[in-house]
């Protein structure tokens, strides 16, 4: 393999961004093929299950968006994809809540991972209005009732003056574009931070004891040590 070419202008913005990105997340840390041996519990499944649910939500939502907001009311296929969308949302919140509780009991913010927790928590909080705008965009009785009741809470704090739950057009825009983009951006940031810092190690990890007792790392070789591993 030939060596990467030397940048023509080492000081360019592009080169700086590229070098900073590679330094923060070299490919073997971005897509690792090995994990510390303590990553061995079913609780770890719920993080990737949250992302998987989000993928199903976005896919089913995109199919619904392709045909417009009324399609699912008068076709069986549309109703099928609406149901997929509903249940993937329910699954998303369920697995995300289990994931959050799991990470709480692991104190997964340790070792300089505060931002990992913060992005995860904000993702949950932004997902709530994303779902709410979906409920009020349904164009059925649920949408009528939820919008006319929830408006009082929005109005009480002044939010109703620029976020009108009874305005279908505005809510639909929030639901199919603005809030999903926010959730997806937060999830990407969250995952990149997880990859950068690695999975939080167990409590009371006596590094000296472990390294003296454990045999030498087997194949695959250990990825580069996560940055920010110490607070």
């Amino acid at each position: 393999m030939s060596a990467p070419p030397t940048p023509l202008r080492p000081s360019s913005w592009t080169v700086r961004v590229r070098e900073a990105a590679v330094e923060a997340l070299p490919p073997e840390r971005l897509l690792p093929d090995g994990q510390p041996t303590y990553v061995a519990s079913w609780i770890y499944v719920f993080g990737v299950a949250s992302i998987a649910s989000l993928i199903v939500i976005v896919t089913s939502g995109s199919i619904l968006a392709l045909k417009g907001p009324a399609w699912w009311h008068y076709t069986g296929v549309g109703h099928f994809f609406n149901s997929i969308h509903l249940w993937s949302v329910e699954l998303f919140f369920f697995v995300m809540v289990v994931h959050l509780w799991g990470k709480y009991w692991m104190a997964a913010w340790r070792g300089g991972r505060t931002r990992v927790w913060v992005t995860g928590a904000i993702t949950f909080l932004v997902a709530v209005p994303t779902a709410l705008t979906g409920y009020v965009s349904q164009q059925n009785f649920d949408a009528q009732w939820i919008s006319t009741q929830a408006k009082d809470a929005m109005n009480s704090v002044g939010v109703g003056s620029f976020f009108n739950l009874t305005n279908f057009g505005q809510m639909y825009s929030y639901h199919v574009l603005l809030l999903p983009v926010a959730v997806i951006a937060l999830v990407i940031a969250h995952v990149l931070l997880v990859r950068r810092h690695g999975v939080v190690p167990p409590f009371e990890l006596d590094a000296q004891r472990v390294s003296s007792r454990a045999p030498a790392p087997e194949s695959p070789p250990a990825p580069p040590a996560p940055a920010g591993g110490q607070s």
Partner: protein, 339 residues
């Protein structure tokens, strides 16, 4: 570092991992997860489908509950309905304006979606009806009258309707002042209601034909997607609430979390819904802002868990982590292998 900084900075002896690594296929795991979640969603879809109760319309409301429709309409005319008395963002009244201590955000943000219930919900739709001399005369009489007179007419017409509605709500025998005949509502008033009976009769007929649904959706442009006016008008009546109660959607029924039918709705709002069930929020006219402020503080605390002394230490003190990392701790406690 300041004392606050010291307090926020947790004691953290977490070390980078220097132990063994095991094979792990990230892409394969993610692909399997997508497959499993897709299958689960399909299974739930096949077994349970999803709810889709048809929306109510003003036409249905006026056909099914004409007296309720007329009661709501005359209150819109009189300025005594929930929407008419609401306050910002719809008008400058104050019945539904909430505050917390010195915080008055609803008032501060002002009227952004102005609604004049008299004109928007009653007089405006009536003016779209052509070739009706009796209505034209009634409207002219109403518009020319002073405000005090308008109010007396509307109240005279509203009083028997409200007494009947109250009696029905309390399951008592209603007074014989309101009757329905051939789809019209006949109200016996004790004083003069002026042109109001003619206006209400025409508005009811227009509503039954779907005309009020249409007229409340008209705007400055051809295309429009804002259902604020028809939704608020319907919410001032009893049809939506009646349907909602039957579906366990009222606030006292934890309706925030529910959806029509036996579907799970938004169970993640359980904590938000909980505050409405406890005092002082349960009986407070400022319940919404109180609950939202509580949830804002709790949400901020949730985000800041790593920075909150005590809360961040609970996982270390309650050893659920021993269960999560049991394999790891077992390997540490096992005697070292001899080669």
């Amino acid at each position: 570092m300041s004392r606050l900084g010291d307090l926020l900075k947790s004691k953290d002896d977490t070390q980078p991992w220097k132990g063994r690594y095991a094979h792990y296929d990230l892409v394969k795991e993610a692909s399997i997860a997508v497959g499993v979640i897709t299958l689960l969603a399909i299974l739930l879809t096949v077994l349970l489908s999803s709810p889709d109760d048809k929306p109510s319309t003003i036409a249905q409301w006026s056909q099914q509950k004409p007296a309720d429709f007329v009661t709501a309409a005359v209150k819109e005319l009189d300025g005594a309905s929930g929407t008419a008395e609401y306050g910002p963002p719809y008008n400058h009244n104050s019945t539904s304006v909430q505050h917390f201590l010195l915080l008055h955000p609803q008032r501060w943000l002002g009227v952004s979606h102005p609604i004049d219930t008299e004109k928007d919900f009653v007089v405006g739709p009536l003016e779209t009806i052509p070739n009706d001399p009796a209505l034209t005369a009634a409207l002219a009489q109403y518009k020319a009258a002073p405000e005090k007179q308008k109010k007396e007419w509307a109240e005279a017409y509203a009083k028997p309707l409200e007494e009947t509605a109250t009696a029905e709500e309390e399951k008592k025998a209603p007074p014989n002042t309101v009757s329905e005949s051939n789809g019209t509502v006949i109200v016996k008033t004790s004083g003069s209601a002026g042109p109001v009976p003619v206006m209400m009769a025409r508005l009811l007929a227009l509503a039954k034909s779907g005309g009020v649904d249409g007229s409340l959706l008209t705007s400055k442009q051809f295309f429009q997607t804002d259902y604020t006016k028809p939704l608020l008008f319907m919410a001032d009546g009893g049809l939506l609430a009646e349907r909602a109660e039957g579906q366990h959607l009222l606030g006292k029924q934890w309706g925030l979390m529910n959806e029509t039918g036996s579907y799970p709705g938004q169970p993640w709002l359980w904590l938000y819904a909980l505050w409405y069930q406890v005092e002082p929020m349960k009986s407070s006219p400022n319940a919404d802002i109180q609950v939202l402020l509580i949830m804002s503080v709790l949400s901020l605390a949730f985000i800041c868990v790593p920075l909150i002394p005590g809360v961040r230490s609970i996982p270390r003190r309650i050893p659920i982590y021993r269960l999560i990392w049991r394999e790891h701790y077992r390997s540490l406690e096992a005697p070292p292998e001899t080669s």
